[in-house]
Amino acid sequence: MPNTSIMTFNILSILPVLILAGFGMMVLVVDVLSSRKMGEKNFLAYLSLIGVVIAAFLSKNFTGTTLFSFYGAYTIDNYSLFFQFVFLLCAGLTILISKNYVQRENINYGEYYTLILFSTIGMILMASGADLLNIFIGLEIMSISIYILVGMKRTRLTSNEASLKYFLLGAFSTGFLLYGIALVYGATGTISLRQIAVFIAGKGGVLDPLLLAGMGLIIVGIGFKIASAPFHAWVPDVYEGAPTAITAFMAVGPKAAGFAAFLRIFFIAFGQVHQDWEKIIWILAVLTMTTGNIIALIQTNIKRMLAYSSIAHAGYLLIALVAANNMSVSAILFYLLAYLFMNIGAFAIVIVISQKEDSFLKISDFSGLAYKHPRLAIAMTLFLLSMAGIPPTAGFVGKFYIFSSAIKSGYVLLAIIGVINSVIAVFYYLRVTVAMYMRGPEREFQPLTLSPFIFVAIIISIIGTIQLGIFPAKVLEIAQRSILLLR
């Protein structure tokens, strides 16, 4: 990638990635060497958690620096560091909610944790890649790891099916993404995002069909990963079939990574030709929100409902993408962090409530939870209210911020559609709350196995959801500082 001002090699810049990779392999080796039975291998979770924590500390050291290492292929700036933090937090929380789950479901392999760590590497690469090649490789590392994780529960048909569906469609959409990159490359002669921007600026911001087609195909490819309609169809099936802890992971991680790449590509490379893509994203945003919310209304399986809700959330995030001002970037960063807490928290509670072989996942299985386990019910209500965007939770601040950014750029209609959608969304979140508080139990609740791990994960999620709702100032400030280099 020629002509980047800072041409360094600087292996230290990818230290968090190296740590994650190192710990990933270490988990595998330790797993093989140990003679214990599968159910007893607690140390795998500990080890991978340590890896995540170390990586987080190392990446924290970079705050404030801006660095283009590996000959300009890898960017470190506040933006990518914010995403690194989100990814590592996501991985850490997933490991926390996984530990007992994998033992219960008999999939406590070292590979499980290794793949979580490796897919985190892929996400980091997507957020940090300064050219389309690195973003592409990162996306593939992430996706392939998750294809495997989804199919990890080999003996269960739903898991198999989810894995196959995700894999086939993922590979298919990769084809489109790759074609898009090829056309962009052909039209500009480079794959570096900054060089593309320079080239477009040189042409006075007028694009020819070849480049526009390439841009459209990239939207398809990344739109698939972030579950935007009409590329969302895989989401409910795959979320339902995947092991629940992985569902939590893939509802947050790949979506955040997809948005990281989306923002980088469309704000840096295609930033000057905003008018050429805003209409498409506008339509996609409306379509995504509406589809997600409307179909979610009639779901009976909680994982499927959360899947559709995650589609809707992608739609809200796309609103901010359309707005394309500095406020919208920080809104996306903030919303993703909020979404991370509320989503993983909700899935953690789904894991606690469900029983072996992922049974008891109907919404009606939550009936009367408030009487048997009032604290769990309160926590779940908090997460659902946050997803519905009811104050004073993180989701409210995030939504408000996103809609304000849209209004600020003059997309009033889009904001109105967004608000209408968030009104619709309340109903299906409410159904769970109603079941928990306003119905008698329909089944015997087993005594809870609330291990310290999942307990910590839920507590972190609660704190995050409330903190971001009541005292969001600090995080918002960080989010605002994370956008400076983007445009």
Binding site: I148, L164, L168, A182, G241
Partner: protein, 100 residues
């Protein structure tokens, strides 16, 4: 004289054939082969662009996309084998437990 356009059109034709194949075949392995065809079509575009633009980036990209294809093939075929063990079929129309 063969121009860039020739190569690009050929690439588009192969890509579209691959897409149609994905949509109409039921055998998961064949669907996957059609996806491989799509990737190859894209690679052809890359190499053609690289040649006519006198730039190596396209060729390097192909190098990596082949690696990715290899990795995808490994995992994809493993998934297909896993599902075959459970279900004795590779017909994607049979994989329809989860819907609506």
């Amino acid at each position: 004289m063969i121009t860039l356009t020739h190569y690009l059109v050929l690439s588009a034709i192969l890509f579209s054939i691959g897409v149609v194949g994905v949509l109409i075949r039921r055998n998961a392995i064949v669907i996957f082969m059609c996806i491989e065809l799509m990737l190859n079509a894209v690679n052809l575009s890359f190499v053609a662009f690289a040649h006519y633009l006198h730039s190596m980036e396209g060729q390097m990209f192909v190098f990596f996309s082949m690696t990715v294809a290899a990795a995808e093939a490994t995992v994809g075929l493993a998934i297909i084998i896993a599902i075959f063990r459970n279900k004795e079929t590779v017909n994607v129309d049979d994989m329809n437990i989860m819907k609506w």
